[in-house]
Symmetry: C2
Amino acid sequence: MASAAASSTSAVAGGSNKGAAIATGSALWNRVPKANAELFALTYGALVTEVLRDFGDDINAVNEQLDKMGHSMGVRCVDEYLAKLSTAAPPCSKFLDTAEVLAKSAFKMFLGITADVVIHEGTEGKEDSYSLIMTDNPLAIFVELPDQYQSPAGEGQPLLEYNSLYCGLIRGALEMLNMRVECKFVKSTLRGDDVNEIKVALKEVVAEGAGAEYQEE
Amino acid sequence: MASAAASSTSAVAGGSNKGAAIATGSALWNRVPKANAELFALTYGALVTEVLRDFGDDINAVNEQLDKMGHSMGVRCVDEYLAKLSTAAPPCSKFLDTAEVLAKSAFKMFLGITADVVIHEGTEGKEDSYSLIMTDNPLAIFVELPDQYQSPAGEGQPLLEYNSLYCGLIRGALEMLNMRVECKFVKSTLRGDDVNEIKVALKEVVAEGAGAEYQEE
């Protein structure tokens, strides 16, 4: 299953066309089985609480664990996404093409929301990156972080990233398209920002066929 | 919030009328925000995995922890349920009245499914109980339990109850209606049964007004 998805890069839908990605997202959202968004958010909250309880004060480890869980889900989500696509759609072979597909199609299918895209182009076409901007955050509808998690405990101390699951999801999904990315929540409404912003930066395009091995962690 | 809900027993909708409960359930389901059921199931799976990792071999503690998380959610769900009800509905003041309301309205609103009800009436009207029978199990759509969790490790050894969250949800919700119940998964498709059956047995009707204190654990 993993290798099938890894070799199907060019089949992933949406391309850079925002309109097409929106239409694809709506069609996919209509097609997926639904759950109650509030119970989903409460369940994710229980998961974060449990990870915090398990890793205690090691906030970096908590963030990594949430990201890792998201990664496993993201790898799986690509298969679900491809399985539910009913029409051939423009290819998504370049990194920057993935922005609108993630923001308008995949986010819609898996989270019920869409995000806005801001492209940050790097020098000489390397280290391209983009930001996904979300006003809503379905993982955190009931959440208010306690003070201790809103600002770092001290200079250079890590901060709990409640939303790390998103980063893992995106990282896992793009890995299946042979793109190794770094993904970071740079703005969060849970920390008082006005929007949520996830920055996705391309690190490496993995050679075709290496995907299946690579994603074994 | 807790005391408001605890004193509103008679306002909870559905009564023993199955038809009314089905209609209420559909209306509530149409009204709630939705999430992707597959991502919800994957998230719950991550939660169970994390609790297992945390409590290791103490399967009783794992089951209890999942039940406890469900309890917190169930307490909250009653508020959501009451808030989203738009019409006055038949009262649900007797324990057995809660069966169809849970099965057809609350399950529909929170899980997107309905359950069948089998009433087991006790002697002298005490220890009344009923079973909720579900063919679908939205928490476990991708789940296959490893062998070690499908049968007990030895005589008298506890068994992992992957679905403990349901029991906690029901326990928490009914507690807000002043009913202390015992809730157990007696059949599970994850263990090879043909359906999922949750047995709900009334232990005590808590005096009106005691709810707020009682639910502090």
